[in-house]
């Protein structure tokens, strides 16, 4: 299933080569957490930007955006649906 938005802690996945380490160091550094850390930061930034946009809309015209959570559903749905496409670039 595709991830939507904030990804949270991804479990550490050990490479199969970890069990029987070769004597010669792997030329590519093992950084299994780097991509997920990057995607986590991107997800947090993505939702902060979404929140800032909604705050801007709300401050500009409160009756249309701040009177009830139902007013935010379309916005949150769009942000949620776009999240996999946008955050997919940061994996």
């Amino acid at each position: 299933m595709s991830s939507i938005g904030l990804t949270g802690d991804a479990p550490y996945s050990a490479r199969s080569s970890d069990r029987y380490s070769p004597a010669v160091p792997d030329p590519t550094p093992a950084t299994p957490d780097a991509p997920s850390a990057r995607s986590r930061r991107a997800a947090v930034a993505y939702w902060l930007v979404a929140g800032a946009i909604y705050i801007g809309l709300g401050v500009a015209y409160p009756p249309a955006f701040l009177l009830g959570f139902q007013e935010s559903i379309v916005f949150v749905l769009i942000v949620t649906a776009l999240a996999p496409k946008i955050l997919g670039r940061f994996r």
Binding site: M1, S2, S3, I4, G5, L6, T7, G8, D9, A10, W47, A50, G51, Y54, I55, G58, V59, P62, P63, F65, L66, L67, G68, F69, E71, S72, I73, V76, L77, T80, A81
Partner: protein, 243 residues
């Protein structure tokens, strides 16, 4: 009354009670006391000039009126109906907890709630901030977010920020979706994006609306645009509620 604390409380209850809570039913319970009545309290427009009833305070929190929605018994009755119709104790208990969270939050203002109605119409009110619902949405927002009501909402938003992981996909997949039969059904009917939207919308709205209202009250609105964190404030608002 509280403005956005009701949007956030269910997530923190979920974070602390875990599997024992269905977030949508807890949110529904949290909204239920005001769900069908707030529009009549405020009137038809944002400014509060198109009033619908002569005594909005009596309507909202009193009896005669719909003040019975802000009692301990009301969420119990609705939760029993949910239990009878759905046979899901999780949903009924979640509604009950959400409803009670709303009722207890509303004891903090000057009008308070009839906690033990119908045994008594005594109002539990702690007078931490002034009830200003009778003045319409605009002035109520200004009064609430410049008084200790705004501080109360900030407290809940700050607490949710510290527990932000409850809003992640990983938490939803591990702790929410498998433990509430509502989610597989909703995913089947409307898709994953919609299910995640339903899960997150209230938290998203709660946090951003608090920030937006604070900014609007202090920097855009020109009526009393300053904080008044005195007990029972803001001082410009006329006293409402029982002595």
């Amino acid at each position: 009354m509280s403005w956005a604390a009701h949007d956030i409380e269910p997530y923190l209850i979920k974070a602390h009670l875990g599997a024992a809570i269905s977030v949508p039913f807890c949110i529904l319970g949290s909204y239920s006391p005001d769900l069908f009545t707030k529009w009549a309290v405020y009137g038809l427009d944002f400014s509060g000039t198109k009033e619908l009833v002569k005594d909005p305070v009596q309507l909202h929190r009193g009896f005669p009126g719909v003040g019975f929605t802000h009692t301990l018994i009301f969420p119990i009755v609705i939760a029993l109906i949910i239990l009878l119709l759905s046979k899901h104790r999780l949903w009924a208990m979640s509604f009950l907890i959400g409803g009670w969270a709303h009722v207890f939050s509303d004891t903090l203002d000057s009008v308070g709630v009839m906690l033990f109605w119908p045994l008594t119409d005594w109002h539990a009110h702690l007078d931490v901030w002034q009830y200003v619902g009778e003045a319409g949405r605009r002035k109520d927002a200004i009064a609430y977010y410049t008084s200790l009501g705004g501080a109360w909402d900030l407290f809940w938003a700050g607490w949710l920020v510290t527990r932000w992981r409850v809003l992640t996909t990983a938490y939803f997949e591990a702790e929410v979706a498998p433990k509430d039969p509502l989610w597989p059904w909703l995913r089947n009917k409307a898709g994953n994006a919609f299910a995640m939207t339903v899960y997150r919308a209230s938290a998203f709205f709660g946090v951003v609306s608090i920030v937006a209202w604070m900014l609007w009250s202090l920097f855009v609105n020109d009526f009393q645009p300053h904080l008044d964190w005195t007990l029972g404030g803001p001082s410009w608002a006329p006293r409402q509620g029982p002595p």
